[in-house]
Symmetry: C2
Subunit: 226 residues, 2 copies
């Protein structure tokens, strides 16, 4: 009989950190950061708002766990050649953040939590094999991580803002609008941006992101292809 089920057996629909984070990610992916509310989360989990606090400390922990969940998968990349490993990690992060912009925002907002330690480690550990001198490794790893976090935040901001534009507006058009605004505010005052405007229009975000990685690696004196 139903009443004789052991007490230690859990209802399959019982709450748990995992189920909560999973639901949070779904809400974040569908509605963006603003959509994640304890009330919305409780509704989706068919429970009360307070129940979530039994499993999770606060909203910050919730966001950190969701970000970890989405970023950790990227860190599994294994490439033999160190340069390719770094590029693969960087591109993996780029793609993950493109798919989950809120994770990019969280990463650049609370870097000491979440997966930034893993990112630092997996990039830094390639530098020996790349031939970067040990006393330069911290500077190079730090530059790479900061650059990646900067792009992550940017990407998240773009995604958030694109949401507010008339739907159908793609990224290139969005960037073009920004450049146009800057340039038109004072055409003579922005000669560089004016000169770069056309290049901006048809540039590839992903390729440009990778160019930055290569630039830093080149600066580290690793011009040879390892």
């Amino acid at each position: 009989m139903a009443k004789t089920t052991q007490r230690t057996e859990r209802r399959t629909d019982a709450l748990s950190k995992e189920r909560i984070v999973e639901a949070a990610i779904e809400i974040l992916d569908k509605g963006g950061e603003g959509a994640l509310t304890f009330r919305a989360l409780a509704a989706r989990l068919a429970t009360g708002a307070g129940a979530i606090y039994w499993h999770v400390t606060d909203k910050n922990e919730l966001l950190a766990m969701a970000t970890d969940d989405v970023i950790a998968r990227v860190m599994l990349v294994r490439e033999a050649k160190p340069r390719e490993a770094i590029r693969a990690i960087a591109l993996g992060l780029f793609d993950a953040i493109e798919a989950h912009p809120w994770a990019g925002a969280q990463l650049s907002r609370a870097p000491w939590q979440s997966a930034v330690g893993e990112i630092f480690e997996s990039i830094g550990s390639q530098l020996d094999a790349l031939g970067v001198a040990e006393q330069a490794q911290l500077d190079v790893a730090s530059a790479l991580v900061h650059y990646i976090l900067g792009c992550a935040g940017q990407n998240a901001a773009n995604a958030t803002n694109a949401r507010l534009l008339p739907p159908g507006t793609d990224r290139a058009a969005f960037l073009a609008t920004i450049i146009a605004r800057w340039t038109q505010r004072d055409p003579a005052g922005f000669p560089f941006l004016h000169k770069m405007a056309s290049r901006f229009r048809d540039h590839d975000d992903r390729a440009q992101f990778l160019a930055g990685i290569d630039l830093i690696l080149a600066g580290a004196g690793t011009a040879d292809k390892n």
Copy 2:
């Protein structure tokens, strides 16, 4: 008589965008981003919360204007040598964000507004004189700006978090704590961080920031000192 003052004459304490932004900056500097509230702002200006909306669209515009105000001063730097100009701009931004962490957060959160256009321009316009090929200039400027924004966000996050620690804890100790947490979670899993731990402990944020700028410039093939 007081009653005969012309109607066009303004009370010296009348509200204005300038006064509102000024008060907002004071609140932000003293209490951090969480302290800036329309109610707190209204109280400081001895007015009603709704009055502020007559001069300012919303909180986002308020933060953008405050950030612009604090960042714009940095852009005035004029250096003859292009490399020194870029370093001066970067360091100026670093210092400004250290003094006003909330501006760093805003910069990396809403880059298309505020002073990011000016930053892009003032850095990019130096690249010609630095000898960077024109087709590489967008990549280099973009890498520099993204790197700077990444550091800005990081810096803001550190400042926000340091506020929560027991007072007196300095930055170095804070970073050491983070590294320790990462390393101790799984010592064998973080060989690179473990190796770098001592270097982290006594590193100079400012110097490391500048090292990243130099790394990118070196990668752009501008090793000679212009």
